[in-house]
Amino acid sequence: MVDENEGTEDMSGVRVLVGTRKGAFTLTSDGRRGDWTVDGPHFGGWEVYHLTGSPVDPNRLYASQSGGWFGQLIQRSDDGGKSWTTVGNDFAYEGEAGEHLWYDGTPRPWEFKRIWHLEPSRDDPDTVYAGAEDAALYLSTDGGLKWKELTALRTHRTGPTWQPGAGGMCLHTIILDPVHKDRIYVAISAAGAFRSDDGGASWLPINKGLRSGEIPDADAEVGHCVHRITQHPSRPDTLFMQKHWDVMRSDDAGANWREVSGDLPSDFGFPIAVHAHEPDTIYVVPIKSDSEHFPPEGKLRVYRSRTGGEQWEPLTNGLPQSHCYVNVLRDAMAVDTLDPCGIYFGTTGGQVYHSADGGDSWAPIVRDLPAVLSVEVQALP
């Protein structure tokens, strides 16, 4: 007799953390990822740019809650999102704020707008980094109660030349290297990518090989509109980047980049993700162009490369293949660590899609949330 649950009964569960324009939602399932419970909205009416969990304590969650009326708040949960506590929101620029370039090329003082991204430590649930608009990196070591700016990034010698992208001058990507404990990668629109090898005390622009036709010098040291960077923990020196245009790859910790857009129908897009168990399998969602932020031909297609770029295949099974004009934002794609690997993404139309088989087939978990800003997923014990 074959137990129909054989092979799945000891599977853990998953919790998908969704930040939207009007609140946060959690979507939970057992390891089969077929039946979902939707909980929310938390912080209804507020923008939740990011909601994420600690890798070492899945019950510890952090949320960036903000809005045009009442500013920035950080919420923390110690019970997996059942209850939340407001923690610290004192995000000050240490010392002189300084100036960067505005859209019209005039100097403009740094001004805090919001937190785009929260990145909890791989080792300590009370340690968490926060990426801000206007670009700055903050660190809390007490569970979000107090925040201290790591000033060397904002005060980098190139800082006065940084300009915002259309979405603001946001620090949206933070990668804490799993091997080199003092190594941090960040990306800023539209300054580019930076690496620190000393825990944020100093920073190196890592944009060599990027070519951006939107700036006067396409090969400039900074000024590139990097949309997202991802890394597989087993191969930490390999980075994959979705730039404004171009999908890029580095195999030397960002020192040099090469384009791997290959046969994509469009190499414009926002998110990029790497398979949990296959470090050369990556996922992007091509968008038609910088002026038309929707899928080419109205077909929502995730593209998968099993070769670390260059060769791509469209994944369409279960995704709308006509009249689909949503976008997928940079922080709105995630993978789980189950086997087979689950892939998740949210759209500006409020759908959260998932695949429980590495992208071969897709189904919506929910269809009618507010516009999705971020998606993260946790494997639960």
Partner: protein, 98 residues
């Protein structure tokens, strides 16, 4: 006892339902009301005014006694009716879409 009306989002944040009542010591001004409010409900820090400059957030307004006090000096004494608790000091989010 000073009566303060909060907008819905800030009521939720402060875990209150109706009006907030504050014991305010000293000449009653916007600044003193906000100082007292934030001391009693620290989760409201930064939501009504900037934490460092003390400047009112752009889309927050202060009303009392059918007057818009938003652009008054934060140290201007508030109307007698507010001081006497007959009228509330109203904090609200300005009308805006989205």
């Amino acid at each position: 006892m000073i009566r303060v009306v909060l907008p819905a989002h800030l009521k939720n944040l402060a875990h209150v339902t109706g009006e907030v009542r504050l014991e305010v010591a000293g000449p009653v001004t916007q600044r003193l009301i906000l100082d007292t409010l934030e001391a009693q409900y620290p989760m409201l820090l930064g939501t009504i005014r900037d934490r460092h400059s003390g400047k009112r957030r752009a889309f927050v307004r202060f009303y009392a006694c059918e007057q818009d006090l938003s652009n008054d000096s934060p140290d201007t004494p508030l109307p007698e009716e507010v001081i006497a608790g007959k009228e509330p000091f109203i904090i609200l989010g300005a009308m805006a879409g989205g």
